[in-house]
């Protein structure tokens, strides 16, 4: 295990925490990506501009990353898996009121019991899914 990637992970985590804390301190909002984006579908009057602003920041950050270090050029897995995965992530995060950011960072950071339960659940199902696809039915997907 190398030290540099570990330090980068920690530093990246600190930045994510700072950005989420910034949104709480400045605007009083939870920095949950699925909630922020899901709230645009459908758009609600009077609640649009800050959501679009955050989304523009995410995409702008992506452009910066692309220029500086590059972004991943693909995902392993067939298109069918990407579509099923995307549908599950979209519907599931809305049904469960949050994803890795809203529950994982902001919810755990506020010691919310619902977020602890959600994170335990999605991590467990993530571990299980990778185990099944990589070690039990490898190559089928």
């Amino acid at each position: 295990m190398q030290l540099l990637p570990l330090l980068a992970s920690l530093a990246g985590g600190l930045l994510i925490g700072a950005a989420s804390l910034g949104l709480l301190a400045l605007s009083g909002r939870v920095a949950g990506i699925s909630g922020i984006v899901g709230g645009l579908l459908p758009p609600q009057r009077g609640d649009l501009d800050w959501r679009l602003g955050f989304l523009a920041g995410l995409l702008g950050g992506g452009l910066l990353l692309q220029a500086l270090v590059g972004l991943p050029d693909g995902v392993s897995g067939s298109r069918a898996v990407l579509i099923v995965g995307g549908l599950l992530v979209g519907f599931g995060t809305r049904l469960g009121n949050g994803c890795t950011s809203g529950h994982g960072v902001c919810g755990i950071g506020r010691a919310s019991p619902r977020s602890f339960a959600a994170v335990l659940t999605f991590m467990s199902f993530g571990f299980l899914t990778v185990f099944l696809t990589r070690h039990m039915f490898g190559g089928l997907l």
Binding site: G17, L26, L64, F91, G104
Partner: protein, 141 residues
Amino acid sequence: MRSVLIAFACGLVFALGLGLSGMVDPRNVLAFLDLAGAWEPNLMLVLGGAVGVYALGARQVLAWPRPWDGLRFQLPTRRKLDPRLLIGAAMFGVGWGLTGLCPGPALVGFVGGSADIWIFVAAMLVGMAGFSLFNRVAPAR
């Protein structure tokens, strides 16, 4: 306008944190979820760093009468665990494990030009919009 700029800045820093941490690359996420393979613990540091900053800061911030640019803090009010939370988190976990993508990294990666990520994001947005329809037919109690 100020609220939009705040959201934009937070989204931008959030994206840079995702990039620095390696979370934007689904291969890193899948390596973390692959307990039975060559397990990469880096994501624990990302989450630990983010939660640490958020937890320490939120304790101070939530003692303020209101956020810097807002009338009140807008936090989730539901406290109880319910089937929606757990089923939604489970669905999200399966989609996360199938692809290595969750909403934040997928949106940041969207600008990298990968057709795989475009397909995932399109499916994710369909899933979110699908939830809005579902929630109209069967609203949460």
